[in-house]
């Protein structure tokens, strides 16, 4: 999701208990452990980490959207809460898309690359402790 092509950010998410589904690229899984890179925006993301809101969709539906609609690959779905992001001073925003009303982003934009890596590690640790919320065939 690029800032240029993406719609403007909506309101900040405030329900600290709401979970944010994040797809896991299979290359970011080794020996069953998921890389912290899953929670670090890639260059294409321009600082906005794409997630899907648990108040709008299930982890399973989010997975199928990612795989069947967008045509990407996923090893499964991890989750962090809005509160866990806020605990790392990361604000999440609504950003519904025409084909994906559940879409939201976690905002890493103002952070340096090092800070992004640090926070990604902490979010990944929280998500790993929760375990996969959906895995195909699981």
């Amino acid at each position: 999701m690029t800032a240029e092509s993406s719609p403007p950010l909506g309101p900040a998410l405030s329900n600290r208990d709401e979970l944010l589904w994040r797809q896991v690229n299979p290359h970011f899984v080794h020996g069953g452990r998921v890389s912290s890179q899953v929670f670090k925006p890639t260059p294409k993301d321009e600082g906005l980490l794409s997630v899907a809101r648990s108040s709008r969709t299930t982890a399973e539906d989010a997975f199928h959207h990612h795989v069947k609609i967008l045509g990407f690959v996923s090893a499964g779905v991890l989750a962090v809460s809005v509160g866990e992001c806020l605990g790392e001073s990361l604000t999440s925003y609504e950003q519904p898309l025409p084909d994906n009303p559940a879409h939201a982003v976690v905002d890493f934009r103002v952070l340096s690359d090092k800070d992004r890596e640090r926070k990604a590690k902490r979010l990944a640790a929280a998500a790993r402790s929760r375990g996969f919320t959906y895995q195909p065939g699981g």
Binding site: N25, H27, S36, K114, E117, R118, K121, R128
Partner: protein, 387 residues
Amino acid sequence: MPDDRTGPETKSEGERPAFLTPVFRGQRFGGHGIPLDVLPDLRAYRDLVLELAKVLFLRNNPLRKRVPKGFGDSLRLTLSQLREGSTVAVLTRDQSPREQPPLPNLVVEDVFSEARDLINECVRAAEECRSVPDDFPLELLAAFDGVGRHLKKDESVELRTPGEERGPLLGFKERKHLVLLTRADYRAEVELVGRAVAIGTDKSDFRIELDSGEVVTCPLAREREREVTTAIRDRTRLRIRVDGTGCFDRSDRLERVEQIDGFETIDTLDERLRELASLSDGWLDGEGIGLAPSNVDHVREILDNVLGGGIVPMPSVYPRPDGGIQAEWTISPWEVSLVFDFATHKVRMGASDVSSDAELEDERSFQDERLIDKVRSFVMTCLAGER
């Protein structure tokens, strides 16, 4: 599978009568040969025929206390032919007069055929879930543990006798059924992959922990001791694959490995880096630069030295979208990473204490003479604080 249900053939080449025509069924037998691994099963069959023939002979000759000298030598079975896509073996009896031991005044010829037929009845009973024939000695049922042991679970052998169009099928189910009639365990082929975790105190065995968490004991040959010791010392990195014969209880629980036929050490670091080296551009949903083989080799060399044969545990290793590689450890409460950055030719070390705000960071050039020491020391610092 070729159609092998043609008319029975009772003569093999050279006019020697066929004693048994085992027809092997299964994927491995669709080609042009019988795997050597399976040949011991034919020997086990021969041994069973011989033992059963001895019992039958003594039963038919109640005044004798033992079988005549040369009795065993008179059953010389030869694999004389492979037919029909090599799934059909022909066993003949070698009855060369000069090799035939003298068995004066005794009729033994038929007792081997009688034994063969009784074995077939026994297998047929198992196939049809019936009781085994009363005249089959119970003490010999355990011998089925060897007959067909090297067949895989989806394979079987049909024991076709001369004049029969169809013989009974001996597969895993029948073999297990027959063995468990008189014993509490049975043997079957196993292929295990796991981590070597310990050597027994008398060094006669070692233990593998499977991915399921189950720990299995395996025999340890002296010449393999060094390899197993290395695998134990570096067990976060090295896995082992064991092929052989396992002993299972009635519930199909693997009790132990009794014999190892194949042993292989798997270097999971090497395996993982080969995977990463095969990534091409776009591996991350269209993003992600492919990893240059020379860069992967460089990481292999650095990590190999850092891990030091088990001094540092094996990390998880991932590609980076920028064409670099990232190694990570969870060493509670630390989340540790090494970023191999090929744009700057540096290793960036980072550790975050997820229970506090504490962070550790360092950075070294690939050319730094103390790179290995620094990286190892960085990880060891986190290991020292592991909770």
